[in-house]
């Protein structure tokens, strides 16, 4: 049976979506202050306008229902799906007026890419972009990386009535601390530790490169949040290649690993239980993935002979496998080098790394190591069952935070998400190919969008077809929500439309 939404549900959904839009508007105070401090007057007005429009629209929506209206599971799913689109529509406003985007659609693309921590970009003339706009682009990684709902719940912008429902609907299952507000604050605390340490380390690197102090700090902060939140934006058009520094690459790999680690594992490590890292099925699956893909990538790079010597091959191979698998998307290659220098096998390894993704309950995208681990265990389970006598009851156990039995329900859920991701990867690739892009490049770009990675073969650029921009926007949105919330939204809209049409016919 399909749950039908009534007018009251629509008001409740509008109320919570409005509050989240107000939250995005208030977050614009960060780039606004940056602009004022750096005397970037026109960008400051962009953010004043963005704040004004977002807060006005958000408050108007929020008034459609009384404060603290209870939020049921279905409505929470729809609010969550809508929140990412609404937040992107709001976040795109100041970018669209910056003069560095060809259209509002391009700005929306970047806002969605920033919030979903994808990192694909349509910005033009990035090397001349105002620092405050760079602050906002990177700040969207921080807001989205933690989860828009997590961000909103932790600053308590009036979501009390539906905090827990929204939190679960956003695809987060950490119950690190008994209270959802405390849990979200723990997530922010872990993030703050990484951001402070990363910013300090990269500031030292930048100062050593001869960058001026304020720029060193800002670049370090942006690189840290873009890496830890597995985003991938950079303040320069050359992305990570701009710094010409292996130390920069090394520090960012550490941050990528921190960003892809499940927050429950962070909590265990924080409590001193380091053994969990080695026993956990997800950590094991992720480690095996990375190791196998690094080997494939190394063999592939050695075969192309574009890169000479083991250190060179390892530096390029390891960096891009980590960047792809954690969903970060920093790259030290030019787009055309993927096909010409990286070659078939290594490029295939990068596509698989992107598709598989990092760990659940982290900022990483993709199918996720936990699901791959469960699917692998499931295959072993079925093989064992087929070899056992008919009367035997075969159980398969796995360890994820505690010892559990693998059930059909868990396995079905993992397979369902796996299939949805694969469907999205292939569909996006075919649409790209239909526009005349080489199938390998089109598949690479599609996987990068749906797995929220951000590596690019160059298809993503302001001149690309508008429909393909929309396809990638939907892929980034769907990938971040792991499909279910978005499918719930589309299904609700379809049912509402059908009811309306039926109502008209009967009238």
């Amino acid at each position: 049976m399909w749950v039908k939404l009534d007018r009251r549900d629509a008001r409740t959904i509008a109320h919570y979506t409005g509050l989240l839009i107000v939250g995005v508007g208030l977050a614009m105070v960060v780039p606004l202050v940056t602009a004022l401090v750096l005397k970037e007057w026109d960008p400051a007005l962009d953010y004043l306008m963005g704040m004004g429009l977002s807060c006005a629209a958000g408050m108007a929506l929020a008034l459609s229902s009384p404060p603290n209206t209870p939020l049921n599971r279905t409505n929470a799913l729809i609010v969550t799906a809508l929140a990412w689109l609404a937040a992107s529509l709001a976040a795109a406003l100041p970018l669209a007026f910056s003069g560095n985007y060809g259209s509002y659609l391009d700005a929306l693309f970047d806002a969605m890419s920033g919030l979903t921590t994808s990192g694909l970009t349509l910005v033009q003339d990035l090397d001349h972009l105002a620092m405050s706009h760079n602050m906002w682009r990177h700040f969207t990684h921080l807001i989205g990386g933690q989860g828009i709902v997590v961000a909103a719940v932790s600053i308590a912008i009036g979501l009390r009535g539906g905090a827990m429902s929204l939190y679960i609907a956003e695809g987060r299952d950490e119950k690190i601390l008994p209270n959802v507000v405390h849990t979200t604050r723990f997530i922010w605390f872990v993030t703050a530790v990484y951001v402070v340490l990363g910013t300090v380390a990269l500031t030292v690197v930048n100062l050593n490169l001869g960058m001026e102090t304020a720029r060193s700090g800002l670049h370090a902060f942006w690189a840290t949040i873009a890496t830890y939140d597995t985003g991938g934006f950079g303040p320069q058009s050359m992305n990570a290649l701009y710094y010409h520094s292996w130390v920069f690459e090394f520090i960012t790999v550490i941050l990528m690993i921190g960003g892809t680690l499940n927050f429950n594992l962070h909590a265990d490590v924080w409590r001193g239980d380091r053994k969990e890292l080695f026993r956990n099925i997800e950590a094991r699956a992720w480690g095996s993935n990375v190791l196998i893909l690094v080997i494939f990538s190394t063999i592939g790079l050695a075969a192309t002979t574009a890169f000479n010597g083991v250190p060179e091959i390892l530096r390029k191979g390891v960096y891009h496998i980590f960047s792809a698998n954690t969903g970060t998307g920093h790259q030290t290659l030019y787009a055309a080098q993927w096909a010409k220098d990286y070659g078939g096998l290594a490029m295939g390894a990068v596509i698989l790394a992107m598709a598989f993704g990092g760990m659940a309950s982290s900022t990483a995208g993709g199918i996720k190591a936990l699901r791959l681990g469960l699917i692998a265990k499931g295959i072993v389970w079925r093989v064992r069952e087929s070899l056992a006598p008919p009367s035997a009851v075969i159980k398969q156990r796995f360890h994820h935070l505690d010892d559990r039995d693998l059930t059909d329900s868990l396995l079905n859920s993992a397979f369902m998400v796996f299939i949805l991701y694969m469907f999205s990867y292939i569909t996006g690739g075919l649409i790209g190919a239909a526009y005349g892009y080489p199938i390998g490049d089109a598949l690479f770009e599609s996987v990068s969008a749906a797995a929220n990675v951000g590596l690019s073969t160059g298809i993503t650029n302001p001149a690309m077809p508008a429909l393909l921009k929309i396809v990638y926007i939907v892929q980034m949105w769907a990938g971040r929500l792991e499909f279910v919330a978005l499918l719930a939204l589309f299904a609700s809209l379809a049912i509402a439309l059908r009811r309306r049409r039926a109502g008209r016919r009967s009238a």
Binding site: G52, P66, F97, D127, Q236, H244, F307
Partner: protein, 169 residues
Amino acid sequence: MRRVFTSLLAICILGLLPATALAAETIVDVTPAEMASVIEGLDGSTVRFSGEVVSEALRADEENVWLNVLGDGVAMGVFMPAEYAEKVSIFGDYRHNGDIVQIVGVYHEACDEHGGDMDVHATELTLVSSGTPREQPPQAWKGVVGVLGLLFALLQSRRFRRMKDEVVT
């Protein structure tokens, strides 16, 4: 002996002349975008290109720096002795269009010296033109829209608070 020496000298001169002429011919005019698109056979060639120097000179080692030169929307890392970079006074950023320079150097598709990064090792830098300030006049209407929006939101938030109080009572 003298005849042998003269003959050897003549051979050397004749041998060197075409080599020098060939070297002069093999300077390839490109753009950073063309280099980034990985042109077949360009690796190891001496190239000449122009572009805007963006952001800053980054220290590579005690004697060398990196300049990032932007042309056709693509920036290319150029490795060079620090004294070359001293000719550049304005770097491109939000407030400036940077100096335009012409670079002659050796193009590496995957530089062995720099971890496989694509780069150019400059042998010559010529300042073509000086950078200029970029005008970004503030557009007041954006401020007006912003203030009106915030005022509207403030009024709505008072209504929201009243609703909240009603719910509590």
